[in-house]
C-alpha cells in the first residue's frame, strides 16, 4: 500500500505537468527501461519480477500490488538497490508522480466489491462471550478448545482460517453439556408443560426449543420449520419414555448449541448475482461480533426485527451505545494486541525468567488501555504516535520487538516500518541465509551494529535493511523491556543517530516519532486497513482500497478513534455481501 513520502513534491510537479493520455506508457516505461531492466527486463526476473511486458496503464489494474510496491520502493530509495546506478532525481520524481496518477486511474476502474466472507465459525473468544451472554454462565469453556490460527488481516477472527475438526467438535459437545448443566434452567427453558400428559410436554417443548433456538441462533426461527421439527421428533420419543421434561429439553438444547446455526455466523444468501445489503439480523451480528466479540443483545435484535439496521443514523447510534457498554472492551482486547503485536508476548518475546514484567497483564496491556482511552475521549488515533505515552513510549512495544535476551534492531525497525510508517518491506528472498557466509570469520566480537552493517553491504539485503535497520538502531536506547540504557550489554555507547536512504537523518526516539508524524496519513491508513480487516473477518483486497480512502475522508484529518469505528461499521463491505465475484 502506498504512502506519500514525496507528497509535497508530487503536488508541485503535477501542477506543471500536462495530463498525458497514458502517463504510464509515456513517462513510466522509459524510466523502467533506463533504470530497472538490468534486473527486471529481458530474461531477467530478479525477485520473480519482470517489467518488460508492461506497456500500457491498462495493465496496472490486474497488478495493483506489484505497482504499489514498485512505487513505494522507488519513492523511498529502496530501488534501484545501492549496488546499481543511482536513479536520477528527475526520473524518480517522474516515476512516482505519474505512477500515482496511473494507480489512481486504475483504482477507479476496480469495480466496487464488498468481497465474500466465508461461513464464519465463532472464534474461541466469540464462543466464550456468546455462551456468557446467552446463558449467563461465564465458564469460558472455549479456553480448552484448540487455539485458533489466524490469517487475512492477521486476526484470529479471520473466517477463512477458522476450521472445524473432530477434536473441536468433541470439545464443543462437551462444553454444551457443561454450560447447560451450570446455567439456570430459566435461561433455556421458556415454557413449562401444563398438566402431565405427554402431549402437553411436547407442546411446551416446542415453545421452549423455538425460543431458545431463536436466541442462540441470533435470528428468528420458524416454529413450524424443519429445524424445530427435527428436534421435536426426538422429543416425542423422550416424552413417550417419560424422560423428565427438563432433562429432555436440555438435551435438545445441546443440539441447538452444536448446530452450525450456533457455531457459525450464518448469513442466509439472497438470490442475486450482484452485491446486496445483508439482512438486518446479519447486521445485528456483524455489529455485535465486531464490537463485543459476542452475540447481539435484545436492543439490536429488536432493531433487526424493525428492519432498521441498514440505516446510517441507527448504525452510528448503536456503535456509540455498544462502545459505551462494558462489553465494548472486547474490541480493544481483541484488536489492539493483534494489531501492534503484543499478542505475541503471550508465548514469545523476552525471557520471563530474566524479565518478569512481561508476564504482568498491566505491562502487556498498555496499548489496549491507551486505545480504550482514545475511544472514550473520541481522541485522534494520531496520539498513538504523537503522545509521549503513545506506542513509542510503551515498554510492551519494545518487548514485543525483542528477542528472548536481547533487542533486535531489525525486528524493531521492521515494526516501525510496518505499524507506524505503514511501509512494510517486502519479504526476504526464500533461501537467503541470515547473513552471508563470507563474513563468518569476522563476526566474533563485533557489536550488533557492526554485524548488521553487513546486511546493508550485501546487495541481496541492502534494499530493505538499509531502511529498516536504522529505524531499529534509533530505538536501541530501549532494552528488551523498554528500560532506558546508554550502552549496549557489550559496553559500547549506543549511537542513536542514524541515516535513512535519501540522506535523511533520524535522531533517536524523537526522530522516529517526528518521521511518523510527517507521514501521519499513512499511519492512519494502516490503522484503518487493520481495523476494517478485523471488523469484516477477512483480509483486504485491492477493491477495498477505495473503501479505506472513503473512511479516512469521512473522518477528516483528525482521525478520531470513535468516528473511525463508526465509519468502518458504515462502510460498504461491512454492510454488503455477494455470492459471486464481481465481474471485472
Amino acid at each position: 500500500m502506498p504512502h506519500r513520502l514525496l507528497a509535497p513534491l508530487l503536488i508541485l510537479t503535477a501542477a506543471f505537468a500536462p495530463a498525458a493520455e497514458d502517463p504510464f506508457a509515456e513517462h513510466i516505461v522509459p524510466v523502467l527501461e533506463d533504470n530497472c531492466f538490468d534486473c527486471h527486463g529481458g530474461n531477467k526476473r530478479k525477485g520473480g519480477i519482470n517489467f518488460e511486458h508492461f506497456t500500457s496503464g491498462t495493465q496496472i489494474v490486474g497488478n495493483l500490488e506489484l505497482w504499489e510496491t514498485a512505487m513505494r520502493m522507488v519513492a523511498e530509495h529502496e530501488m534501484p538497490p545501492p549496488d546499481q546506478a543511482e536513479m536520477i532525481t528527475e526520473d524518480r520524481l517522474a516515476f512516482v508522480d505519474h505512477l500515482t496518477t496511473a494507480l489512481q486511474q486504475a483504482y477507479e476502474q476496480v469495480p466496487a466489491d464488498p468481497g465474500h466472507v466465508v461461513f464464519h465459525r465463532l472464534s474461541r473468544t466469540e464462543y466464550n462471550n456468546t455462551i456468557r451472554d446467552l446463558l449467563g454462565v461465564d465458564a469460558r469453556p472455549a479456553d480448552t478448545f484448540p487455539a485458533d490460527g489466524s490469517g487475512g488481516g492477521g486476526f484470529d477472527n479471520n473466517a477463512a482460517t477458522l476450521f472445524m475438526q473432530p477434536l473441536l467438535m468433541e470439545k464443543m459437545l462437551r462444553a454444551a453439556d457443561e454450560v447447560l448443566a451450570q446455567a439456570d434452567p430459566k435461561a433455556y427453558i421458556s415454557t413449562r408443560p401444563e398438566g402431565d400428559d405427554p402431549a402437553a410436554a411436547v407442546r411446551a417443548a416446542h415453545q421452549s426449543l423455538t425460543d431458545f433456538a431463536t436466541r442462540a441462533w441470533r435470528r428468528p426461527v420458524d416454529p413450524k420449520g424443519r429445524e424445530i421439527r427435527a428436534m421435536l421428533r426426538v422429543y416425542g420419543d423422550y416424552a413417550k419414555r417419560e424422560v423428565p421434561y427438563e432433562v429432555g429439553v436440555r438435551h435438545l438444547c445441546k443440539a441447538i448449541l452444536a448446530s452450525p446455526q450456533f457455531i457459525y455466523r450464518w448469513e442466509p444468501k439472497q438470490n442475486s448475482s450482484k452485491p446486496y445489503p445483508v439482512d438486518h439480523y446479519s447486521m445485528a451480528s456483524r455489529l455485535s461480533y465486531m464490537l463485543w466479540a459476542s452475540m447481539p443483545d435484545a436492543e439490536l435484535l429488536k432493531l433487526a426485527a424493525a428492519e432498521q439496521l441498514q440505516d446510517d443514523a441507527v448504525i452510528a447510534k448503536q456503535v456509540e451505545r455498544m462502545l459505551a457498554d462494558s462489553k465494548g472492551h472486547a474490541l480493544y482486547d481483541q484488536f489492539v494486541p493483534q494489531w501492534v503485536g503484543t499478542a505475541a508476548l503471550r508465548d514469545g518475546g523476552p525471557d520471563p525468567g530474566k524479565f518478569p514484567e512481561v508476564e504482568s497483564e498491566s505491562f502487556r496491556n498498555q496499548p489496549v488501555v491507551f486505545f480504550a482511552d482514545l475511544v472514550q475521549r473520541n481522541a485522534s488515533i494520531l496520539e498513538f504516535i504523537s503522545s509521549k505515552q503513545g506506542l513509542l513510549g510503551m515498554p510492551a512495544i519494545y518487548a514485543a520487538t525483542s528477542h528472548a535476551n536481547r533487542t533486535s534492531p531489525t525486528i524493531r525497525g521492521r515494526w516501525v516500518a510496518e505499524v507506524l510508517l505503514h511501509a512494510p518491506p517486502p519479504p526476504p528472498p526464500p533461501n537467503v541465509p541470515s547473513l552471508p557466509e563470507k563474513t563468518k570469520e569476522a563476526t566474533g566480537a563485533q557489536t550488533v551494529r557492526e554485524r548488521l552493517v553487513q546486511h546493508v553491504e550485501d546487495p541481496n539485503c541492502s534494499g530493505c535493511h538499509a531502511r529498516i535497520d536504522p529505524l531499529g538502531f534509533a530505538l536501541e536506547n530501549y532494552d528488551p523491556v523498554g528500560r532506558w540504557r546508554d550502552r549496549w550489554p557489550e559496553g559500547a555507547a549506543i549511537d542513536h543517530v542514524v541515516d535513512l536512504p535519501g540522506a535523511k537523518r533520524i535522531d533517536g526516539v524523537e526522530g522516529v516519532r517526528a518521521l511518523a508524524m510527517e507521514r501521519k496519513d499513512a499511519f492512519a491508513r494502516g490503522f484503518v486497513e487493520r481495523l476494517l480487516a478485523y471488523a469484516i473477518g477477512r483480509g483486504l483486497q485491492s477493491y477495498d482500497r477505495q473503501v479505506v480512502t472513503g473512511i479516512l475522508q469521512a473522518t477528516g484529518p483528525e482521525y478520531k478513534a470513535r468516528d473511525l469505528i463508526v465509519q468502518v461499521a458504515l462502510s460498504y463491505p461491512f454492510r454488503y455481501k455477494r455470492n459471486r465475484p464481481v465481474a471485472r
Binding site: A147, G149, A230, H403, A404, P433, N579
Partner: protein
C-alpha cells in the same frame, strides 16, 4: 495437487478404495470407557503404529550429521550422542530432501509440509493449501477406524497467531504438520490433561442425565447433522465447502459414537502394569491441567510422549504426531545450560560461536527426547517376547536441514523401531545421490505401517533399504 475443496470423506474414499468402515475387526477390542478383560497381545499379532515427531528450525549439520557412510553406526555426532543407548534400534537417515518445499519462504514452505512433501500455497489464509494429505492422516484414514481415535495430534507449543508479515504467510501453516485434506489442518492438543481425558476417560457418548441413553446421543448428532444440511441449502456456493467441513466432522463423530457403543459392549481389561502406568500418567498429566509451560518444557514433553506411548500400548490409537514447537519457533531455551536465547534466534547463528553452540545444544535436546521415547517404548512389553517399539515406527526430523541457511536439503531424520514391520536398525541409510526425495522414506514407512499408497508426494519409489 489434490483439489483442496475435496471433502475429507472423498479423500478417505479415494484412499481406502473398497474398504468399508467399521467392519474390519481390530486385533483386539479397544479398551474404552471401562477397563476391560483381555490379555493384551492375545489373538492376532499386534498392529504397527506410527509416531511422527517434528522439530522446528532445522539443525547445525556439522554437529548433527554422522558422515556419509552407509551401514552400521560406528561413531555418534555431538548432537546424537544419546542414540548410543538405542543404537541397535535406530536408522539414521542421511541426505534426503523435499524438493517441492524450495522457494516460497525460509520456514513455512519447508516446515509445514514435513509429512506431505508438497509445495504449499502462499496465502494469508484465504486459500490455505498444503498441497497434500499428510502421511499420518492417510494412515488415520486407512487404519484409524479400528481404534477409538483414528489418530492423535499433540504439540508442546500453542499455534502462533497472526500473519507473518515478514513473508506474507499465515502462521497457521507453521503450527501444523498434520493435514486431513490439503485445505484442512488438524488441530493439535497442547494440554496434556485434555489429551489424556480424550484418550482414556471421556467419550463423546456422554449421557447428560438419567433417562438419556447413548443411543440418544447418536440421535442428537443426527439432528445436528440435519441442521447442517438445511444450512447448506441456504448459503452461497463459496460457503458450502465450510458447511461440508462441518458435516464431515459431525459424521466422523457419529461413526465414533457408534464404534464406542460397540466397544463398550465388549470391554477390555488392562494388565496390572497398564493400569498402574495409566494411573501414573493421569497424575502427571493432571499437574499440567490448564497451565501453559513457557520455560523448561522437558517434563511436559515427557508427559506428552507418555500419552502417545500409552495410547499405542492400549491400542486407543495407532497414529500420532507431536510437534515440539512450531515453524519459526521462538521458544525460549534458556533452561538449558549455556543457552540464553530462543530457538529460531539461535538457528540464525551465522557461524558465530556464541549462538551456534546454543543452537547445537537445542538440537541435542531434541535428539535426547527422541531417545527417551524410544527407550520408553522399548520398556513396554507387547506380544511374544517383543516390545511396543518392535511394533512402532518412530520418525523424528525437521523440514529444514541447515536451519541457518533455510536449507531444505539433507534433512535431519531419525527413525527407530518397527522391527515387526521388517525394519532393520543399527545403521545409517544414505540417499542415492543428493536428489533422493524424503517422500521415498515416507512412502516406505507408510506402507510398512499398513497404508496402501499408489504414490506419495514426489516419491520416486519406496526405500526397501530400510528392510533387512
Amino acid at each position: 495437487m489434490t483439489d483442496p475443496r475435496m471433502s475429507r470423506r472423498a479423500v478417505l474414499r479415494g484412499a481406502v478404495g473398497g474398504l468399508s468402515i467399521g467392519l474390519a475387526l481390530p486385533f483386539m477390542p479397544s479398551w474404552a470407557a471401562r477397563l476391560g478383560a483381555e490379555e493384551p497381545g492375545a489373538g492376532a499379532p499386534p498392529p504397527i503404529r506410527f509416531a511422527g515427531f517434528y522439530q522446528a528450525n532445522g539443525v547445525p549439520p556439522d554437529h548433527w550429521n554422522l558422515g556419509y557412510g552407509e551401514g552400521p553406526i560406528t561413531e555418534l555426532s555431538q548432537n546424537l550422542k544419546s542414540l548410543a543407548a538405542i543404537k541397535d534400534d535406530v536408522v539414521v537417515l542421511r541426505g534426503f530432501w523435499h524438493r517441492e518445499t524450495r522457494g516460497g519462504d525460509g520456514h513455512y514452505f519447508k516446515e509445514s509440509p514435513w509429512l506431505t512433501g508438497t509445495g504449499i500455497t502462499k496465502t494469508t489464509g484465504a486459500d490455505l493449501n498444503s498441497g497434500g494429505v499428510s502421511l499420518d492422516q492417510i494412515l488415520a484414514q486407512q487404519v484409524g477406524f479400528q481404534t477409538r481415535l483414528p489418530s492423535i495430534e499433540l504439540s508442546c507449543e500453542r499455534v502462533s497467531s497472526g500473519v507473518d508479515t515478514n513473508v506474507g504467510v499465515t502462521r497457521v501453516y507453521g503450527g501444523h504438520i498434520s493435514w486431513s485434506t490439503p485445505s484442512t489442518p488438524v488441530p493439535r492438543e497442547t494440554d496434556p490433561y485434555q489429551a489424556f481425558q480424550r484418550l482414556f476417560e471421556i467419550t463423546p457418548v456422554r449421557t447428560g442425565a438419567k433417562g438419556i441413553t447413548q443411543l440418544d446421543e447418536v440421535n442428537l448428532i443426527d439432528v445436528v447433522s440435519q441442521h447442517g444440511r438445511m444450512v447448506k441449502n441456504e448459503v452461497a456456493t463459496d460457503d458450502k465447502r465450510k458447511v461440508d467441513e462441518y458435516l464431515d466432522t459431525v459424521r466422523d463423530i457419529e461413526q465414533r459414537l457408534k464404534g464406542e457403543i460397540q466397544r463398550a459392549a465388549k470391554p477390555r481389561v488392562m494388565t496390572p502394569g497398564q493400569k498402574a502406568a495409566i494411573e501414573q500418567l493421569k497424575k502427571d498429566a493432571q499437574s499440567y491441567a490448564g497451565a501453559y509451560v513457557r520455560g523448561d518444557h522437558t517434563d511436559l514433553v515427557t508427559v506428552m510422549m507418555d500419552i502417545m506411548a500409552m495410547a499405542f500400548w492400549t491400542d486407543n490409537t495407532r497414529v500420532g504426531t507431536l510437534m515440539y514447537g512450531n515453524a519459526v519457533s521462538g521458544r525460549n531455551f534458556s533452561f538449558l545450560d549455556g543457552v540464553n536465547s530462543s530457538h529460531h534466534e539461535t538457528s540464525h547463528h551465522d557461524e558465530s560461536e556464541g549462538l551456534k553452540s546454543q543452537y547445537s545444544k537445542i538440537a541435542t535436546w531434541h535428539a535426547d527426547r527422541f531417545t527417551q521415547f524410544v527407550e520408553r517404548l522399548k520398556g513396554l512389553p507387547e506380544g511374544e517376547g517383543t516390545t511396543l517399539l518392535d511394533h512402532t515406527i518412530v520418525l523424528q526430523g525437521s523440514g529444514l536441514g541447515d536451519g541457518n541457511r533455510h536449507s531444505n536439503r539433507d534433512l535431519p531424520l531419525l527413525l527407530a523401531g518397527g522391527k515387526a514391520a521388517g525394519i532393520k536398525g543399527g545403521r545409517q541409510v544414505v540417499s542415492k545421490g543428493d536428489d533422493e526425495p524424503m517422500c521415498n522414506v515416507l512412502k516406505e514407512v507408510g506402507e510398512r505401517a499398513g497404508a496402501q499408497l499408489k504414490d506419495f508426494g514426489d516419491a520416486s519409489g519406496g526405500l526397501d533399504r530400510l528392510g533387512a
